[in-house]
Amino acid sequence: MVTSLLSTDDLTQARALLEATGLQFETPYDDMVGIFEAGRLVAVGARQGRTLKMLAVAPSHQGGTLLDEVVTELVGRGYQEGVDSFFVFTSPALAPNFETLNFHLLAASGKTALLEYGDGLKRYLARFTRLVRPGNNGAIVANCNPFTLGHRYLVEQAAAAVDQLFLFVVREERSLFPFGARMRMVQDGTADLANVTVVDTSWYAISSITFPTYFLKDGDPGGAIQMELDLTLFAQRIAPHFYVKTRFVGSEPLCGTTAAYNEAMHRILPPLGIEVREIERKNADQQPISASRVRDMLLRGELEGIAELVPVSTLDFLLSSEGIKIWDKGGAR
């Protein structure tokens, strides 16, 4: 029977089982379950948000159905808590164990494979089928937190070079501006460009699944592997659906994580058939325009200079009552 692992003894046994199978005990997690036999823990698994992790079965008990039981319990409980899609990271050699449980391989890179339970990626792509026209298309993936004249410049340059440009706005809610607000600023700020189509990334690009350390600036070295998975998934599964042959990106003189991501793009995407075009950042006052610069000015209350960094549509939003509520926390002005 699968039970929750809560007591100190449970957790000590879980740690020992994980280490015996070459894994690590990784906090945090939302839920951890296991199976005991005669007081000894023989299978363990945990869930953190949409990600299943720390899945291990004692060597003496492998080859049976214990993994199935643990994953069933984690998915069933997660679903009751409102999670509707589940991901697992494993080594490529172990991926077939999960494929027999109806997990699907999203991407594999080096020692890591990312699988998804269910058909979420297919349903995500199907949402956009109507919007896609075959051609020499391009893509930008951006957070737009908020949408600036730097983004606008990148979009204009890219749109002029392709038939249809897809602007993927990061869906993840880890930023100052909520997704809905970012999406609206992007749509309003690109409405006049006929061949630009604004879409969202769902969980499939720069998300807490594909690239968790993106949101921790100057994140940990694990970030390198995640970038590779993120970009492989983009090149192999997402780009073909949109006929995307070129990914455009702004040069990154400021942020270490983003600069490393750009570097990884040049390394990983071209061998997978996606050209990378890095476009020089637009400057204002001899400094590159960046969303973080705009956020800093907002939080310091320096509203005068912002008009030079963002389009009118973004400025209107920032100064609307809805916009002010987002950046003026506790009356910073």
Partner: protein
């Protein structure tokens, strides 16, 4: 019967299936199966039959199957429907 809340039934073990139900405006059934190529239409027919029997006309129905037999499909789906409709 009307699906009024999320519900789930079944397991991921071999010869079983997982059923996920959610309220929705229209009826939308998606089936994944390790034996979809051989038995996809039969699984679908069974699912439709059970939904019809219980008068389920709307909802998001997701099924991931590992080669369950007809009566397992019926039992799991009925259980999920009961859980999704009971007050």
């Amino acid at each position: 019967m009307k699906i009024v809340k999320k519900a789930q039934a079944g397991t991921m073990q071999s010869s079983d299936l997982m059923v996920f139900l959610e309220p929705a405006e229209t009826l939308n059934v998606t089936i994944e199966s390790t034996v979809l190529k051989q038995f996809g239409p039969l699984i679908r027919a069974k699912v439709d039959e059970v939904l019809q029997k219980h008068g389920v006309e709307a909802g998001e129905v997701r099924i991931t199957d590992r080669g369950a037999l007809d009566y397992a499909i019926e039992a799991r789906l009925e259980t999920a429907i009961m859980r999704a409709t009971e007050g």
